[in-house]
């Protein structure tokens, strides 16, 4: 036998199941236990940048909305810095850049309020178009799914984004682009995640 490498094995993932709300969003499960639930305020009151709303749904292979999903978002501030000691320059007080949201038990829709992130750099120092990293779990999803949300009003930056350009099938890049519209003068983006079918969302192995 050659020498052993002594690395540990990652703990295997298991589905979050239908009752993920108990642990991560207990009020949605129907009870109030924590002084503060985490992930409901992504940007805080003092963040610079454009205030936006994002709305979406998660659609299964039969075309039905998934009503027991949980999503987490991780994003830079409007200058492209993350709220982390190695995330770039310091961010505004109260800016977490992290959010957690569930799909509605009746409609299957989710929505968050945040600020539009700035450009960031990829591992080789190339600029990436503004985007939000998304992580999706639900009953029936065995390992959390990673994807990215880009913005339709950033066509120029999207066209040169190294990650979007890595997707060989050009028509699939559109699955990652949230569509902007104005509602009462305020920007709203629509982002539907499709788990299967012709318009299956691009998922990443990060």
């Amino acid at each position: 036998m050659p020498q052993s490498l002594h690395y540990l094995k990652e703990t295997a993932s298991q589905t979050a199941g239908p009752y993920v709300h108990i642990g991560l969003a207990p009020k949605a499960a129907g009870f109030d236990i924590y002084k503060r639930e985490l992930g409901w305020d992504i940007a805080g009151p003092d963040a610079k940048g454009e205030r936006i709303r994002i709305e979406g749904s998660v659609i299964d292979g039969m075309g039905a909305p998934i009503k027991d999903a949980l999503l987490e978002l991780w994003q830079a501030n409007s200058d492209g810095n993350y709220a982390h000691p190695q995330g770039g320059a310091p961010v505004e007080e109260g800016f977490r850049g992290w959010g957690r949201v569930i799909t509605d038990f009746t409609t299957g829709d989710w929505n968050v309020e945040t600020i539009k992130p700035g450009k960031t750099l990829d591992s080789r120092g190339k600029p990436q178009a503004p985007h939000i990293t998304l992580w999706l779990v639900a009953r029936g999803i065995n390992v959390g799914l990673n994807t990215r949300l880009y913005f339709s009003d950033e066509a120029e930056a999207n066209a040169t984004d190294p990650v979007l350009n890595m997707i060989e099938w050009e028509h699939r890049r559109a699955t990652l682009i949230a569509q902007r519209s104005l509602r009462d003068g305020k920007p709203v983006y629509r982002f539907d995640i499709r788990l299967q079918g012709e318009a299956e969302t691009v998922f990443f192995d990060i």
């Binding site: 990652e10 295997a12 298991q14 039969m62 009953r139």
Partner: protein, 242 residues
């Protein structure tokens, strides 16, 4: 500021495949196309940072965090403790660990759970804590009961606690389930058996830890969690064109 190190690529052989027909719900919820593999950029290498101001000290004690004063949930009193480590066997300190579980009768406090076992008025079923400098965490709770679920007509989940962990970068984000040593339902559970590697299932099974029990009071189980490790830069790699 130095850029955080890249993660080792994920070893998918120990994870359940998305499409696991024995677990019926996965069939329509499993993507069909291959994932696109990404070099980690700073958005994958970093992740949210949590501190003790985010949680309360008693959040990790499920025996008291929802109970009426002077009362206690019904069930076997247990301590679930362990460490969060990475693949390099280094501790993952200051990371948020959140758990949720059914009560001792196998019933969840959730508006969608209709199982006939009663809700326990003194049990919420969730807890959270932040690992210490050595990556250690501990919860006090009751051992959850097995419960039936709709998959085949006679499927029962082994006793389990759902566990969510962050790590230091978003690419380490993990949700899993902790099972208990000796449970005969483990080998016949379609959700457990989505995992192809028997050793990986053993790694999800908490071990009775007599040394950590409190005599005449609470029995203990040990459950360590391993997150992806980061590379260390042994040689500077100058990429072509840079």
């Amino acid at each position: 500021m130095t850029s955080p190190e890249q993660f080792y690529q994920r070893d998918w052989s120990i994870h359940p495949p998305a499409y696991s027909p024995g677990y019926k719900t996965s069939v329509a919820r499993s993507p069909s196309y291959s994932k696109i593999s990404l070099d980690n950029s700073v958005g994958e290498l970093t992740g949210p940072v949590f501190g003790h101001s985010d949680i309360d000290a008693g959040d990790n004690d499920l025996l008291t965090n929802f109970a009426q004063p002077g009362q206690s949930p019904i069930g076997e009193r247990i301590i679930l403790h362990g460490r969060v480590l990475d693949e390099n066997a280094r501790p993952v300190p200051n990371t948020l660990v959140e758990i949720w579980q059914a009560n001792a009768g196998g019933r969840y406090r959730h508006k969608k759970d209709t199982y006939l076992a009663p809700v326990d008025p003194n049990f919420g079923g969730c807890g959270r804590t932040i690992t210490d400098e050595t990556g250690a965490f501990a919860f006090r709770t009751v051992k959850p009961g097995a419960y039936p679920w709709r998959n085949y007509v006679n499927n029962w989940r082994p006793a389990h606690i759902h566990v969510s962990v962050f790590g230091s970068g978003f690419a380490q984000r993990l949700i899993t389930q902790c099972y208990f040593q000796g449970d005969p339902l483990i080998p016949i559970c379609p959700i457990v058996q989505t995992i192809p590697d028997p050793d990986a299932i053993e790694q999800l099974t908490a071990t009775l830890d007599l040394n950590a029990t409190i005599p005449l009071d609470t029995v203990a189980y040990k459950f360590d969690i391993v997150l992806r490790g980061r590379r260390s830069t042994l040689f500077e790699n100058r990429l072509e064109g840079n």
